[in-house]
């Protein structure tokens, strides 16, 4: 017995000793540190996006996400096959919309798959929560992919800094807070993943990585229209590489396999289909593909032919190929085989294009050019670190760095054209800033280390070189800046980007928070108290929300695919009541919904959007003239000075019906509009063809019922 006991004790001792002596090997130590840092970043990226849930609730935000949520619910409940063939008769009445063929389904598939997996391992979650948390989850994944991208471009340290920066960059957070269930949420992940795999495949020249790259491209193409950016920047990169004389077999393998596979994959998305080989947006990629074949062929021929013959061959090839291509493109464009560029694409290349030609694109606030302040607001410190990163990249030029430079420079341009594309710039800014930060820190940290090594010499305190102090100051300064960046990002996230915009919150005089939940009040009223097949007419902004929350048929929605239809609604809103009634009867409209902020001071209401309705309506129906709605001085007024067309338009009447008697502000006359800050011009609005059906508590949403025709006969 005692023998056994002794042995046990000795094994215990051995175990204790081995625990005490346990040390992670040096190599594993850094891996362990990396994993811990990445783990923290992963959690941070997710957690910082939860402000919206804490401040409000777990709810889908804004407009487009409601459509995505609705389609995801359909996908989950009806299955893939029905989703693929879904014809939606609840929108664009009476035209309808083929949803299966007109969406980028990546987002819906993603969250449906997450939902199915979680339920398969018997974690009961509901689809709303999956959708709400999809964007934060993918933001975390983006941080990891950015780490890999940074690592591929430079080194591990850069990767880690890039991951940390992107996890909280406001430009990306704006589109990926909890509840922001939009394509961009997963698309940025797909974008960076594609870029990472692309750089990897260029660096290795391996078919395996090219295949992965084209799969990532497929995911991107499935998720967002922004895949066009990838299919243009990669050929551009190849061109630049050729121009720099950096053509290599690695590049050849990477591009050809990625282009062929990627295009075949992208064609599987119904919405893209043959556009991937026919539309102008994709032609650059095809051209570069052909060019690359030519270059490869010629470089092979060069080894076979004497210089003189080779030069002649080049001349011949260029003449033949150049002229054939030109003729072919001309013919294909003329016959319509290659589709012309879309308006949104034009407006990217020429920022003034939309303003002149397509009011419907110009009317969207996120398509406006970016202001300087919003660059700082969305990127903060990165605005300054970004050029430094460019400098570091140029200093050590290699294939990967060239790609980083190209990506960042083009995205700066696009972000300048459209506010929305700040999203594409943010990752580029993070990676380049990470290059700057890690290079700087590495340099100065090295200076910090050196004196330590010689510190063993006795009494060297006064001989420490000034270099060390400089290094300390530099590191401290950079740390301070990074801290400021963190504070800014947190503040922006919590204050600016975490509002769901379907629920409005305002601070009262005593500091307490008051919630305006009028939108949901109205949509829920529609859902509960109108006939299931009722048709609702409203400006297109609210279309997705009405179908998403109210579950009713609408005339136009945020998809804006049919300009004429939207113009018809714009015309109805701008016409007088009898004229509008004819249009509404034509469209079988049962209810009209308007958003009105005059009582509460909610500025983005329909009266402020009204000129766009007039413009878009007038663009198709010349009876509507913008000038009729503006005073002689060209002012947009709703008070007594307003034009008769304005004061008698359907929109005006619906917004201000019964408003003339309402007192809104102390010391102001009845009918004082708090957004426009004037007393309204037409106080006794009488409605003949429609009647008030519901108005929300704060008057933000007003719903009118279109009277049936029989009533008029009965009255007459």
């Amino acid at each position: 017995g005692s023998f056994d006991g002794g042995r046990r004790r000795s094994t215990q001792m051995g175990f204790l000793q081995s625990v005490q002596n346990f040390r992670i090997p040096k190599k594993n130590e850094s891996v362990f540190l990396e994993i811990v840092i990445l783990g923290c970043i992963y959690v941070l990226a997710f957690a910082v996006r939860l402000f919206s849930i804490l401040r409000f609730e777990s709810v889908i935000h804004e407009f487009d996400p409601y459509f995505n949520f609705r389609t995801t619910k359909y996908l989950v409940s009806q299955g893939l096959y029905k989703f693929w063939n879904w014809f939606d008769d609840e929108s664009w009445y009476p035209l309808g919309r083929i949803i299966g063929g007109t969406v980028y389904p990546g987002l819906m598939y993603t969250s449906a798959i997450i939902f199915w997996i979680l339920n398969a391992i018997s974690l009961n979650v509901n689809i709303r929560n999956v959708c709400v948390l999809t964007a934060p989850f993918f933001a975390s994944n983006t941080a990891i992919v950015t780490y890999l991208f940074g690592k591929e471009i430079r080194d591990t340290e850069t990767g880690l800094v890039a991951a940390a920066l992107i996890s909280i960059v406001p430009g990306y957070i704006s589109r990926s807070v909890a509840g922001s269930f939009d394509n961009e949420g997963v698309a940025i992940f797909a974008l960076i993943l594609t870029f990472y795999l692309w750089v990897k495949s260029v660096n290795t020249g391996s078919l395996f990585w090219s295949l992965l790259c084209s799969l990532a491209y497929l995911y991107m193409a499935a998720a967002w229209g922004g895949y066009i950016f990838i299919i243009n920047i990669i050929p551009l990169y190849v061109l630049v590489m050729l121009a720099c004389g950096r053509f290599s077999q690695r590049l050849y393998v990477a591009y050809t396999s990625m282009y062929i596979l990627g295009t075949i994959f992208a064609m599987q998305i119904r919405f893209i289909g043959f556009q991937a080989v026919q539309s102008s947006e994709h032609m650059a990629a095809m051209g570069v593909f052909c060019l690359l074949q030519l270059v490869n062929f010629l470089s092979w021929m060069r080894t076979m032919l004497p210089g003189d013959h080779f030069r002649r061959l080049i001349k011949l090839v260029f003449t033949v190929v150049g002229s054939t291509t030109a003729v072919a493109v001309a013919i294909m464009t003329a016959t319509g085989y290659i589709s012309p560029w879309t308006g949104r694409f034009y407006s990217l290349l020429d920022p003034t294009y939309a303003k002149e030609h397509i009011p419907i694109i110009a009317s969207v606030s996120e398509h406006q050019p970016t202001t300087w302040s919003s660059f700082f607001f969305d990127l903060h410190l990165l605005v300054f670190l970004f050029p430094a990163g460019l400098y570091f990249c140029f200093r050590k030029l290699n294939d990967a760095n060239i790609f980083a430079i190209l990506y960042s420079v083009t995205s700066v341009y696009f972000a300048g054209v459209m506010v929305r594309l700040m999203l594409v710039l943010a990752p580029a800014a993070c990676v380049l800033s990470a290059v700057a930060v890690s290079s700087t820190l590495k340099t100065y940290m090295g200076h910090l280390k050196k004196p330590k090594a010689v510190a063993k010499k006795p009494k060297v305190d006064n001989t420490i070189p000034i270099q060390r102090e400089i290094a300390l100051v530099a590191i401290a300064g950079l740390t301070l800046l990074l801290c400021l960046y963190t504070f800014h990002c947190t503040w922006v996230t919590s204050e600016a980007y975490s509002s769901p915009s379907v629920v409005l919150a305002a601070k009262q005089g005593d500091g307490s928070r008051v919630i305006f939940d009028d939108f949901r009040e109205a949509y829920y009223w529609l859902k509960m108290n109108t006939a299931p097949d009722a048709k609702i007419m409203s400006w297109w902004d609210y279309g997705y929300q009405i179908t998403g929350m109210g579950n009713r048929t609408i005339i136009v929605d945020n998809n804006t695919w049919n300009n004429t239809h939207i113009a018809t609604v714009g015309r109805a809103m701008s016409s007088t009541e009898p004229d509008a009634y004819k249009i509404m009867r034509m469209l079988d409209v049962d209810y009209v919904l308007v958003v009105f902020g005059g009582l509460t001071g909610y500025a983005s209401d329909d009266i402020n959007k009204f000129l766009w309705m007039v413009r878009i309506g007038g663009g198709v129906y010349p009876v509507i003239k913008e000038a009729d709605y503006l005073t002689a001085n060209g002012e947009y007024r709703i008070d007594k000075e307003g034009t008769p067309a304005m004061l008698n338009s359907l929109m005006y009447k619906m917004c201000y019906y019964r408003f003339g008697k309402t007192m809104t502000e102390y010391g102001k006359p009845a009918g004082y509009d708090r957004v426009r800050q004037v007393e309204i011009g037409n106080k006794d609005v009488e409605l003949e063809y429609i009647e008030e059906a519901y108005t929300t508590e704060h008057w933000i949403v007003r719903i009118y019922k279109v009277k049936p025709e029989e009533n008029r006969w009965a009255a007459a």
């Binding site: 609730e57 777990s58 709810v59 391992i121 018997s122 974690l123 009961n124 660096n203 290795t204 020249g205 690695r250 290699n398 294939d399 379907v502 629920v503 919630i515 939940d517 949901r520 009040e521 949509y523 829920y524 009223w525 509960m528 108290n529 929350m549 019964r658 008697k661 309402t662 009647e691 008030e692 059906a693 519901y694 108005t695 929300t696 508590e697 008057w699 007003r702 019922k705």
Partner: protein
């Protein structure tokens, strides 16, 4: 979790017996004519949307047989609205009530048999109290009203208390919800009286059995006519300590429909008499984590106040409910298990006791399904509800991390009133070992995951022989880098020495400098070849390093060319010796290239 039989409550026990009898098959009529209603005092309460009838009956056995029970009669149309019925004797004991039918029964009536506690001998009297609650008996009239109009309803009944027995004397008092007698109209059937919302019919005497005399009232009733068309109440019991209750409501304002338009302006100033703004109710005081939402999110217009009796809830729908308007929402809360589940010490069984119906005041529930989700592994499930129900179904529910599913009981019933909000009981047995199932399951899952990761890390799926052994590859790369470093070091030192020799040469102290240059030239060539070999070898392993090494090759070539351009110039016999300034300039030029090479080499050999 000690079980106390007294804690079960006497009421419950009585209800339980009552329930068993009620749910049995209809008994035969077996009519006994000897009974007489000596005195009937009927009170009808119409102050809410419910019709509450309270009848005190003095029953006289004037026949010659013993009576053990008596019959209650309702007209078929009235009985279809009957929701709750109970009969007490004079001291407050509940009597058994069962539906009775027979071919001999007169048509147009429905009968209930009430069993007496004691046999009623001839010539003896007994008094009983009947309490019945009816729903949807007040019909909106007119059926459509505008926003500002008062809500008027029509109520039809019998002037007499309907009975299969002869009634000697009776009186009916009706209480209305309004004091306004002007808007109230009623059928005259003297003696009749109407005073401040209270109507009296009678006293009448000597009424034959089954006498009908249609009574009709028309009056104002602005009290809420809230009807829950469908209620799904889910009670999820977790033996980890919580009972989660979730109630899904479909509601409708059963008052007269809104005619014409709704005006927010008018509503803000004068409201709408028939509109329902909010619903109130009382939850147990231990209720926590209360939520109130619908399919599109949280409903922010609600209030919760802790009071002495319990948690007072005030819930407003998103919009006021006018007549005919509907809404749906979901409402839930948590209860601590120790207050609601008891364990029987002797048998080890558990008993869950929670209220059956809604907590909201004064609402009618048209249809309810109460779903009890018991812990996984529960068996021997028994349900006892203190009133008859339509159906009891058993099923299985798969919740979070469930393996075999949790047993469920669904109890269905239609036409409920607040009187049905009483406790019901579900008893079951479950082994406490089942509690461990989930943690074990999760642990196994994590274990498998970790094992999979371990296996993956150790697994080798590469085809190529060279790539097969990762360690070998790393070792090879290491080896190559070492020789690369040595090679470049050797070369760099050679140039350094040559530079020193050149300095001597400039001073005229090194005549054999031409030979020195030749040596270095050869050495450079040798090093170049070596580097190319290394690069060639490296191509198998690491493309990034190859790229960098190629850069090194270019840079070293550049160094060679630059340095040798100077030396060749100096070595020309005619050339003048370079000045100090020229030398410094040259040095700085070479320094740049040197730094670049050093950087590149350091970059490559950082890992060593």
């Amino acid at each position: 979790w000690r079980f106390d039989i007294r804690g079960m409550g006497r009421t419950f026990f009585r209800h339980f017996v009552f329930c068993c009898i009620l749910s049995s098959l209809p008994a035969a009529l077996g009519f006994y004519e000897g009974l007489v209603n000596a005195d009937v005092n009927r009170k009808i309460d119409l102050t809410t949307q419910l019709t509450k009838v309270d009848v005190k009956i003095a029953l006289n056995n004037s026949g010659s047989q013993d009576a053990t029970s008596f019959l209650l009669a309702f007209s078929t149309s009235t009985e279809s609205h009957l929701s709750y019925l109970s009969v007490e004797d004079a001291v407050g004991n509940y009597l058994t009530v069962a539906k009775a039918s027979d071919e001999t029964a007169p048509s147009g009536f429905v009968f209930y048999r009430v069993g007496l506690n004691k046999t009623l001998k001839p010539e003896l009297k007994v008094s009983v109290a009947l309490y019945a609650v009816f729903t949807h008996r007040m019909v909106p009239y007119p059926a459509e009203i505008t926003q500002s109009e008062n809500h008027l309803v029509k109520f039809t009944d019998n002037h007499y208390f309907l009975s299969p027995y002869r009634t000697k004397k009776q009186k009916t008092t009706i209480k209305l919800s309004t004091d306004n007698d002007d808007t109230t109209t009623m059928t005259e059937f003297p003696p009749t009286d109407k005073k401040k919302g209270e109507i009296t019919y009678g006293p009448y005497s000597e009424i034959a059995p089954y006498t009908l005399s249609p009574m009709e009232l028309h009056f104002e009733n602005n009290r809420p006519f809230l009807a829950v068309t469908k209620l799904l109440k889910e009670i999820e019991v977790s033996h980890w300590g919580n009972i989660a209750v979730e109630e899904v409501y479909k509601m409708r304002n059963a008052a007269a429909k809104l005619k014409g338009s709704f005006s927010r302006y008018d509503y803000q100033f004068s409201g709408g008499p028939s509109a329902i703004k909010e619903v109130t109710g009382l939850l147990p005081e231990t209720a926590t984590d209360i939520y109130y939402r619908d399919s599109i999110g949280n409903i922010s217009t609600s209030n919760v106040l802790p009071t002495e009796k319990g948690v007072q809830i005030e819930m407003r729908p998103r919009f006021p409910l006018f007549g005919g308007w509907k809404t749906e929402f979901c409402f839930g809360y948590n209860l601590p298990i120790e207050n609601y589940v008891r364990v029987f010490r002797t048998s080890g069984a558990f008993a869950l006791r929670v209220p059956f119906s809604t907590h909201y005041d004064g609402v009618v529930v048209d249809d309810i399904a109460v779903k009890v989700i018991l812990p996984e592994g529960a068996r021997d499930i028994e349900v006892s509800v203190p009133f008859p129900v339509d159906a009891i179904e058993h099923g299985t529910y798969f919740g979070t991390l469930d393996f075999v599913g949790r047993p469920t009981v669904i109890i269905r019933k239609s036409n409920l009133v607040p009187e049905h909000t009483v406790d019901f009981q579900v008893t079951y047995r479950v082994s406490s070992l089942h509690l461990l199932r989930k943690p074990v399951l999760v642990s196994i899952g994590l274990l498998l995951l970790t094992a999979a990761v371990m296996a993956y890390v150790r697994m080798d799926v590469s085809i190529s022989k060279e790539e097969k052994d990762g360690k070998q590859a790393a070792a090879r790369v290491f080896e190559l880098l070492v020789s690369f470093q040595a090679n470049e070091k050797r070369r760099a030192e050679a140039y350094k020495t040559l530079d020193a020799q050149h300095a001597q040469f400039v001073l005229g102290k090194r005549p054999a400098f031409a030979d020195d240059t030749k040596r270095v030239k050869d050495l450079n060539k040798e090093c170049n070849d070596k580097l190319q070999d290394i690069i060639k070898d490296m191509k198998l392993w690491d493309a990034a390093k190859v790229a960098k090494m190629t850069e090194v090759a270019t840079a070293t070539q550049e160094r060679h060319n630059t340095v040798f351009a100077y030396y060749t110039a100096d070595l020309k016999a005619s050339a003048p010796k370079p000045s100090k300034d020229v030398l410094t300039e040259r040095h700085s030029k070479v320094e740049v290239i040197e730094t670049e090479i050093q950087d590149l080499v350091r970059d490559l050999t950082d890992d060593l």
